[in-house]
């Protein structure tokens, strides 16, 4: 297998392994190239060295919140398109995330079609 095209690669970040894996399977089934991260620091390290076109992240994670990750990613890779997934509807969180500028916002459990469409759109 050849080195995937970074421009077509989707990065996933979630501290919940089963949710992370399920999203990876879903995107794989649709033929996307997927890189999954269980740990925000690992992802941020990756983003520092590599181009990240699209990030799908859970906004409530232990230790560092998804919002914090977004803020730091913004500094590292301002062009990365972000899709936010959250377990809880929270107007304040949504406002903040919107300010940072995610391309899409999903509340778990989410509609798989719309999700795939959003990822596809983000990849351009």
């Amino acid at each position: 297998m050849s080195e995937p095209d970074a421009a077509q690669e989707v990065c996933l970040l979630d501290d919940d392994l089963s949710v992370l894996n399920s999203m990876r399977f879903l995107l794989l089934a649709e033929g996307f190239t997927v890189r999954a991260f269980n740990n925000p620091e690992e992802f941020l390290a990756h983003a520092t060295k590599n181009h990240v076109s699209v990030l799908v992240t859970d906004i409530w994670m232990d230790r560092v919140t998804g919002l914090e990750v977004l803020a730091r990613l913004c500094a590292i890779s301002p062009k990365t398109k972000v899709i936010v997934i959250t377990a809880r509807e929270d107007s304040a969180a949504r406002a903040t995330a919107t300010a940072i500028g995610p391309v899409a916002f999903f509340i778990k459990p989410f509609n798989d079609e719309k999700f795939i469409a959003a990822v596809r759109e983000a990849l351009g």
Partner: protein, 868 residues
């Protein structure tokens, strides 16, 4: 014996020549006559000495008599033949006492035979030889005077010339001595008899007991002075049949004349012995009457023939009176014991006392419980006017004898009520009643309370005699017992009334079980509680039949074993009454056993606690309801966490299912990947199920109290994880510091989780408004010596009320805008229901610290000790 001994002497006399014989017979005759006339042995001996000296030319004669102990001979009468110079020898003799065998008298005494000394100056065994030599005494003869085999005297004669033994002379003197013996013996006997008579006479005169002797024809031979006093007159010539009438003799009933043929003297004359016959005597000379106890014996002659009879009578009046007095006291005491009315008892007591002395009148007054007023007690022989005047009077320092005695708590003796200042206010009354002296003693209880007074009245002016003092002491003692007893009875009745009143209002049943008779007594209230008819006969089984069928067997077994082992029993159970009514009761009983340990009675009470029980049950329901609401409300507060917990697996399931379908749609299914997907699906379904299960157990009511052995460290970890989403959303951090040696506890998991959910929520609320870096909660655990698990939850908020940190456990106390203020109250009730404690305090720098201590599960302490 005696005649044999005399005969040789007389024969010897016959052989003398006529002149000698005539002189000797003359001597014998003279001596015999004179001795017979002599008053005593001393003068008889003197006669013998004098006559022998005169007729036979001896210069000196003297007699020796044995002392009382019969160990020595002592000087007796002497005859000096008108020669004063011989007094020197007499003086020498008087200095001597001879034991048997010593000197001439001792030799004769020992040998019981005459002895002749030719010349005393040459005799080795003659201690008085110096005196004899000085006076020229030479020949000597000693003759014994025998009575039977006993030497009663020794006579000795001396003369101035030495002379060989004159056998003839010795025989004559011996014959004279024998004559003397006869005379003296008679004299002795007469003297002895008269002395015995004298003694007997004086005994009979002086003795206190009456002695009467009569011959067999009932003629009085002896009637001593005591008998004359006792029977009122001396011996009379009266036939026995008239004795009872003549002397006033009665049977112990004091009225029936003593049957003449049964009189002790009559019986003893007839030959019968009588012992301790009691007789009452009353006649003109003995009007007050007296008691006597008589013993009689028949008198017999030497040949056993009946001579008459003797009786000895002892005056036992004093003993008898005391006996009657004691019997009277016993009677009064019996009345007290039989709970006779106090007035009857006191009246009997007063009459008993009055019967002990002539002219004595007595009264008893009672002091009211107010300690001020008196009531009439008993005064059967005082005028009614007097009794009425005294009833209701007050006591005081000058209130007659009784009022003053009760006031002073001292005996008051008034010898003349007409002059004594204590009687100033009562003189008129006393005059009407004819009273002069009044002595009163307070009646004092063992506790020292004055109960009343006992008084003696007399018509003559005087103080009490010793006997009257004694009677007073006895009377106050007995009256004290009677009054005290009556007071106690009154108090007992009052207490009983109070108890039964309390029992009625307290839903109490009293009962007694008699297992032997299978009989049960039960109070009226008890019959209502147990649903028995008022007149139904009750048995042990009827009681048991009322116990709820579910508990009947158990209660019966518990009752039997508790009674057998401890002698008492207590149980809380249900009764099922007719028509289906259920009562909750507590039954307590105590067994009364006999000496063999067999239960003769079980007494007890049954308390109807239905209403309390109802209230308890209601309270418990309310408490559970409250706890449940608290849990539901906690769930509401923690929705983010629960939603997240549930959303995660649901999201994964949805994604995985969608992915699998997409792989299938595209037709390029990697079986390994499909398997992986299906496994993930199954795992997430289970995870979702667990979350739902957890929520359900928190919300459900019925499973909340089931206990299990718990490791609190893991319960805390689970709880923190459960609320992690909320912690994130509130930007708070919970850190844990676990003691790995924390003992396990026995507790209901849901309730323990509820404790920690509440404490964390509470800490989160307290952290609101702090900067995110301060929103920290520290949960630490610690083993306290292995038998207590201690959990502390601390925050860094504004802390607790300074004055009373534990106020936060009160109902409805809240510092927060939202919430009911019930959370911590519920936490405390859960902790306490688990036997633990909860305290709240302010941490040293800031914030609050709440400490929960729960007892370790059984066996934990030992386990931890072993591990250490």
């Amino acid at each position: 014996m005696r005649s044999e001994r005399k005969e040789p002497g007389l024969q010897q006399v016959d052989e003398l020549n006529s002149k000698q014989r005539e002189g000797q017979l003359n001597l014998l005759q003279t001596i015999t006559m004179e001795v017979a006339a002599a008053g005593d042995i001393g003068s008889a001996l003197e006669i013998v000495l004098r006559r022998v000296c005169e007729k036979t030319n001896w210069a000196l004669g003297q007699a020796w008599l044995p002392n009382k102990q019969k160990t020595l001979l002592e000087c007796g009468p002497v005859w000096l033949c008108g020669r004063p110079e011989l007094a020197d020898f007499r003086a020498a003799s008087e200095k001597n006492q001879f034991p048997p065998g010593v000197g001439l008298p001792g030799r004769v005494w020992q040998a019981k035979a005459p002895a002749w000394i030719d010349d005393v100056r040459e005799d080795a065994n003659f201690p008085r030889s110096a005196a004899a030599r000085a006076l020229g005494l030479k020949a000597a003869v000693g003759i014994p005077i025998l009575s039977g085999d006993e030497v009663i005297a020794v006579i000795e004669f001396f003369m101035r010339e030495p002379r060989n033994e004159n056998e003839q002379l010795v025989k004559v003197i011996a014959a004279v001595a024998a004559q003397l013996d006869l005379v003296m013996e008679r004299k002795f006997a007469a003297a002895e008899l008269s002395r015995t008579n004298e003694i007997l006479h004086s005994i009979l005169s002086d003795m206190g007991d009456a002695v009467i002797v009569a011959d067999k024809d009932a003629n009085f031979l002896v009637f001593n002075p005591a008998a004359q006093r006792m029977f009122g007159q001396g011996a009379t010539k009266t036939p026995p049949a008239e004795w009872p009438h003549r002397y006033g003799l009665y049977l112990p009933d004091k009225v029936t004349p003593f049957p003449a043929d049964q009189l002790p003297l009559t019986l003893s004359i007839r030959g019968d012995e009588v012992n301790n016959i009691e007789m009452y005597i009353r006649n003109q000379k003995v009007p007050q009457g007296l008691w006597t106890r008589i013993t009689g014996r028949p008198l017999h002659g030497a040949n056993g023939e009946l001579l008459g009879g003797v009786i000895v009578c002892r005056d036992i009046s004093a003993i008898k009176e005391e006996e009657f007095f004691r019997a009277g006291q016993s009677q009064v005491l019996e009345m007290i014991a039989a709970d006779k009315p106090l007035h009857e008892v006191l009246k009997s007591l007063v009459l008993l006392m009055e019967g002990q002395a002539e002219g004595l009148r007595c009264s008893i007054l009672l002091l009211n419980r107010d300690g001020k007023h008196v009531r009439h007690g008993a005064a059967p022989n005082l005028p009614e006017a007097y009794v009425k005047a005294v009833d209701g009077a007050t006591i005081g320092p000058r209130n007659g004898s009784c009022g003053t005695a009760m006031y002073r708590r001292q005996r008051v003796v008034v010898t003349d009520v007409m002059t004594d200042p204590l009687w100033t206010d009562y003189r008129g009354l006393a005059k009407i009643c004819g009273l002069s002296a009044c002595w009163s003693s307070p009646i004092i209880s063992p506790q020292g309370d004055v109960l009343g007074s006992f008084a003696m009245y007399r018509e003559e002016k005087r103080g009490p005699h010793r006997e009257e003092e004694r009677l007073t002491a006895i009377a106050t003692h007995i009256a004290g017992i009677a009054i005290e007893r009556q007071r106690q009875q009154e108090m007992l009745r009052e207490r009983e009334a109070r108890i039964s009143l309390a029992a009625e209002s307290a839903e109490l049943a009293f009962w007694s079980l008699y297992p032997e008779q299978d009989n049960v007594w039960m109070s009226d209230k008890g019959r209502i509680i147990y649903g028995f008819a008022p007149d139904a006969r009750l048995t042990c089984d009827s009681i048991l039949s009322r116990v709820h069928p579910d508990e009947r067997e158990k209660i019966k077994a518990e009752y039997d074993s508790a009674c057998a082992i401890h002698g008492k029993f207590e149980s809380e159970h249900r009764l099922l009454l007719p028509y289906g009514k259920v009562r909750w009761v507590i039954m307590r009983g105590r067994c009364l056993k006999d000496e063999q340990g067999k239960i003769i009675e079980t007494i007890g009470v049954t308390v109807d606690v239905s209403s309390q029980k109802q209230a308890d049950l209601q309270l418990q329901v309310q408490r559970e309801e409250m706890a449940h609401r608290n849990r539901v409300s906690l769930m509401g507060e923690m929705t983010a966490s629960f939603a997240h917990e549930l959303n995660q697996p649901l999201t994964a399931i949805a994604n995985n299912a969608s992915a699998a379908r997409r792989f299938l749609d595209r037709g390029n299914v990697d079986p390994a990947m499909l398997r992986e997907l299906l496994q993930a699906l199954a795992a997430d379904s289970k995870r979702a199920g667990d979350v739902v299960q957890g929520i359900r157990s928190l919300v459900r009511k019925d499973t909340s109290t089931a206990q299990a052995r718990l490791n609190l460290n893991s319960v805390i970890s689970d709880t923190v994880r459960l609320v992690s989403t909320d912690l994130l959303s509130r930007e708070s951090v919970v850190s844990t510091e676990f003691d790995s040696a924390l003992p396990e506890v026995n507790a209901a998991p849901v309730q323990i989780q509820q404790i920690f959910l509440n404490l964390i929520t509470n800490a989160l609320d307290a952290s609101e408004g702090l900067s995110p870096s301060e929103r920290r909660i520290i949960i630490s655990t610690r083993s306290d010596r292995g038998d207590v698990a201690e959990i502390a939850v601390r925050d860094f908020g504004s802390g607790l009320p300074k004055d009373r940190p534990d106020k936060i456990f009160d109902h409805f106390f809240s510092t927060k805008q939202k919430g009911m203020g019930m959370g911590l109250t519920i936490v405390r009730s859960i902790v306490e229901a688990h036997g633990g404690t909860i305290t709240a305090e302010n941490a040293p720098d800031r914030g609050a610290r709440i400490v929960v201590r729960l007892p370790a599960a059984r066996g934990e302490f030992e386990k931890n000790k072993a591990a250490a």
